[in-house]
């Protein structure tokens, strides 16, 4: 257990290190350099030189990398000249909203996808299983933003019950709820197909195992075996999947936030990319990667707690 955790922790550090090196390289490979990107093409050579000196950009690159890392550890993510704010404050403001979006969506995905897959595995190759498989296949073939647009058409244009943008998020609780429904639905539906598919295959595999035959032979009803044995056995892999899918959920949130104008870190990122606000862009990349890494670390921890084989090994 302990060695497993240490190994996972080292891996998390490795991911963060790779990403920060990549981010640092991008920062310094910018056309015209970081200072030009901030001051614009018309800045005089003098002011460029001065800012380069005050920002420490004349020091050797490895030294700069060290200083930059040190600043990051202190929570100093740089300064956004476009928004005239420290990047750390922006991140602290917008990240929790995206975490809310991603958290609710992930919970719903599992809550819908797992029982659906269980049912499909139980009823395999019957009409209802085929119908569900086919509709999941179509959902799977849709880009997330198309799903969002179809939801907007159905529930905003055709039947005006829900708002099509989430700009009003953060005003009051009822608004927040109504504003969140469509983005969360769009983010969730596409991923449900993945979990139900995985669960269905897992159930079908498990049904052939000896322990299921034994449980059935002892007189347990198939439903009981399914819920008490098969589901329990598959849940630990579901938790692993949750960790593995996290990067995609965050990527999906980026798209959904842009589509619905949800004021989260994805939209902040998107707007920063339009303004070429590099300190914000790089800060977001780092924070989002860190969230993913921490999230999958938690998922693995949950897996280790649930699965006795890992606990012992």
């Amino acid at each position: 257990m302990l060695s497993y955790l240490i190994r996972r922790l080292l891996q998390a550090v490795l991911v963060m290190l790779i990403v920060s090196v990549v981010v640092f390289v991008i920062l310094h490979a910018l056309p015209g350099g970081l200072v030009r990107a901030q001051l614009g093409p018309r800045a005089s050579t003098y002011s460029v030189h001065q800012l380069e000196r005050t920002e420490g950009l004349l020091k050797p690159l490895p030294v700069q990398f060290g200083i930059w890392l040190l600043h990051l550890v202190e929570g100093n993510f740089g300064f956004s000249y476009k928004l005239n704010q420290p990047v750390a404050g922006l991140l602290a403001h917008y990240l929790p909203r995206t975490l809310l979006l991603v958290g609710i969506s992930s919970a719903l995905t599992v809550a819908i996808g797992v029982p659906m897959g269980l049912w499909q595995g139980y009823r395999r190759n019957r009409p209802d299983d085929h119908a569900l498989s086919a509709s999941m296949l179509i959902l799977y073939a849709m880009p997330d933003f198309l799903l969002g647009v179809i939801l907007i058409i159905l529930l905003n244009l055709d039947l005006p019950v829900l708002p099509s943008t989430a700009t009003a998020f953060g005003t009051s609780l009822p608004t927040d709820v109504s504003v969140l429904v469509l983005p969360i639905a769009a983010l969730t539906l596409g991923n449900v197909s993945y979990y139900s598919r995985y669960m269905r295959a897992s159930v079908i595999d498990n049904m052939l195992e000896d322990y299921v035959r034994t449980a059935l032979a002892k007189g347990n009803s198939p439903r009981r075996v399914l819920v008490r044995h098969v589901l329990r056995n598959s849940l630990s892999s579901t938790i692993t999947n949750l960790g593995l899918t996290l990067p995609y959920v965050f990527s999906g949130a980026l798209i959904i936030e842009e589509l619905f104008n949800f004021p989260g870190i994805g939209l902040l990122f998107w707007n920063a990319s339009q303004d070429r606000d590099y300190p914000v862009l790089l800060g977001v990349v780092l924070v989002v990667t860190a969230s993913v890494v921490v999230g999958s670390l938690l998922a693995d921890l949950g897996y280790a707690i649930m699965d006795p084989r890992v606990r012992v090994g």
């Binding site: 891996q11 490795l14 991911v15 790779i18 990403v19 991008i26 490979a29 056309p31 395999r124 190759n125 299983d129 085929h130 498989s133 999941m136 296949l137 179509i138 799977y140 073939a141 849709m142 880009p143 997330d144 933003f145 198309l146 647009v149 058409i153 244009l157 596409g190 991923n191 993945y194 598919r197 995985y198 295959a201 079908i204 999947n241 593995l244 899918t245 996290l246 990067p247 995609y248 965050f250 990527s251 999906g252 980026l254 798209i255 842009e258 589509l259 990122f269 998107w270 990319s273 339009q274 070429r276 862009l281 790089l282 977001v284 990349v285 989002v288 990667t289 993913v292 890494v293 999958s296």
Partner: protein, 302 residues
């Protein structure tokens, strides 16, 4: 890649064939008859490819000139699918967009599978510390939310089709690597490989004679499924602003335009590219599942 690859293997999207019936004939035709869906998928892929690449030879339109007098026209006899905001014929746009979409799909499928296969084969065959190092890199890359880097890339460079292909490939070769590594790892210890090693076969001979032929089925399935993912990713990437500069276009770009004009009611700009994307991804997935079943059967018979 928006949808997760577990790296465990391409799970079949459709019902896996459980009761393996003894099948006498091994001809391609009878196999095809057993996989009607896969054949339909293949037919759809071929049809969409012909539509995109041969279509423009039969249906002549000017897809480079802008004509604002013709902008956003509804479908008519002259323009069966209406016109775009630039006044271009939508049906022609759909053909041109299909070209880049399918090119990215095929290119990413081939590149990412080839690269992943080599990476995974080396890891699985050499084993030990090399294996551990190579696979940790794969794990690390899988934990990165790729689309954020795409937006970053879009804000730094003017994308070309090559950059887009390389970017999507960089994000999608990892599952092929995991899969091939797993297969090689189990094949390496098989008796017949051991025997041929005992008889003095070199590494090259073992790899090319015994390992690759056995892995090739899995690799083809992975390549097929990764094409579907690549097309979805390309659409998402276009939506986020990393797209080929006009007049070049893609189904994802057309769909994004349709979404931008959603509240104007220009449905002919939205649904054709939407249907095209869903259709190609469905077709490729169904084809991949069919191939997966065929490969599994082949393994069962051994």
């Amino acid at each position: 890649m928006l949808r997760p690859g577990t790296g465990i293997g391409p799970e079949p999207l459709l019902a896996p064939v459980e009761d393996v019936q003894p099948r006498r004939s091994r001809g391609a035709l009878s196999a095809a008859r057993q996989h009607k869906l896969a054949v339909a998928g293949l037919a759809a892929v071929v049809a969409l490819t012909l539509f995109s690449f041969v279509g423009p030879l039969l249906y002549h339109t000017n897809e480079t000139a802008t004509n604002l007098l013709l902008a956003n026209r509804a479908p008519s006899a002259a323009h069966p699918l209406g016109t775009s905001p630039e006044g271009r014929d939508e049906l022609g746009q759909l053909m041109v967009g299909g070209q880049s979409t399918l090119e990215v799909g095929f290119a990413v499928a081939i590149l990412s599978t080839a690269f992943g296969m080599i990476w995974g084969a080396v890891a699985g065959y050499v084993g030990g510390i090399v294996d551990a190092a190579l696979m940790r890199v794969v794990d690390a890359l899988l934990a990165i939310p790729f689309l954020f880097f795409v937006v970053l890339l879009a804000s730094i460079t003017t994308p070309t089709l090559l950059i887009i292909v390389l970017a999507i490939t960089a994000a999608s070769w990892q599952s092929a690597a995991r899969l091939v590594r797993g297969e090689v790892l189990s094949l390496r210890t098989r008796d017949y490989v051991e025997v041929s090693r005992q008889f003095g076969a070199g590494h090259v001979q073992v790899i090319f004679r015994h390992l690759l032929p056995n892995v090739i089925g899995t690799v083809v399935v992975t390549a097929t499924l990764s094409m579907a993912d690549a097309i979805l990713t390309y659409a998402a990437v276009a939506f986020l602003g990393l797209s080929v500069p006009p007049p070049a276009t893609s189904w994802g770009d057309l769909l994004t335009t349709g979404i931008d004009n959603l509240f104007d009611g220009y449905w002919w700009q939205l649904w054709p590219p939407a249907i095209a994307i869903v259709l190609i991804v469905l077709a490729v997935n169904v084809l991949g599942d069919g191939l997966h079943d065929m490969v599994e059967h082949r393994l069962d018979r051994r």
